[in-house]
Symmetry: C2
Subunit: 122 residues, 2 copies
DNA sequence: TACTCATATGAATATTTGTTCATGTATTAG
DNA sequence: CTAATACATGAACAAATATTCATATGAGTA
């Protein structure tokens, strides 16, 4: 959501803190890298996807199982599974008509648990 | 974004996988907990906020420093800092007219780094 | 006091995004 | 081949959200 038609106003801090700001600027990762990082976390930032991921930490499941479990339409789940797949958070295998989804690696579970422990501490 | 005016269609998997689905259902955290977890990750899911957080891992900074660093308006930064503060990811201290923001704890940095290492692996 | 600077905030707006609906594709069964 | 089942997908719509603009607040200063 990037807009910016207006010049940025400066304040005196710019002069006072110039060294600090320049140092921080030099240590920031690439703009694009941080954008990708935000995109990565964005995938976790939806309760439907979180519930799907959490469910898959317990067992691989097919699309319709997940839809039943979460009481949502097959279409809605399928759309979200696509988002998760594109983010390389889940993988799938086909067995006849049925497609089973599972977590792509256990890194995902670690991230879920770390987030969970953070909100439990506060 | 919760809508659901339509009954969920069932498929045969529901019968075949019933035991698995029931077991997973029993092991899912509270609906509200997962919702909170999604809200938590949602805060990381914006590139402006990610850049703010990453900058604050290097040094505390005032609002106008951050605005200059990221080449954005003071207002936009201030709005996002409020989001970060409400999520308990940053804290602030006032020194005269200037308000300095910093990370609330180093747990935040761990989460950033874990996300970063994930996207670098893929 | 009046004035300036740094920050906060409410409303408006444009963009993004999640779900629904309709339909398409792949696989199996008859 | 035809029908049925499980899943995928494009378009439309509603809701959420990030930025801008205008303005308010709070602290120092003349």
């Amino acid at each position: 959501m990037a807009r910016r038609n207006v010049p940025i106003e400066k304040c005196d801090c710019d002069i006072i803190h110039q060294e600090v700001v320049d140092r921080v600027r030099g240590r920031l990762p690439q703009e694009e890298t941080l954008y990708d990082l935000a995109e990565f976390f964005k995938v976790f930032g939806d309760s439907t996807r979180i519930r799907i991921l959490w469910a898959l930490t317990e067992s691989e499941m097919c699309v319709c199982d997940i839809a039943n479990l979460l009481n949502m339409t097959q279409s809605a789940i399928s759309h979200q599974l696509r988002v998760l797949k594109q983010a390389a958070l889940v993988k799938n295998r086909r067995d006849g008509k049925v497609v089973y989804y599972s977590l792509d690696d256990d890194h995902v579970q670690q991230i879920l648990e770390q987030g969970m422990s953070h909100i439990n501490e506060k």
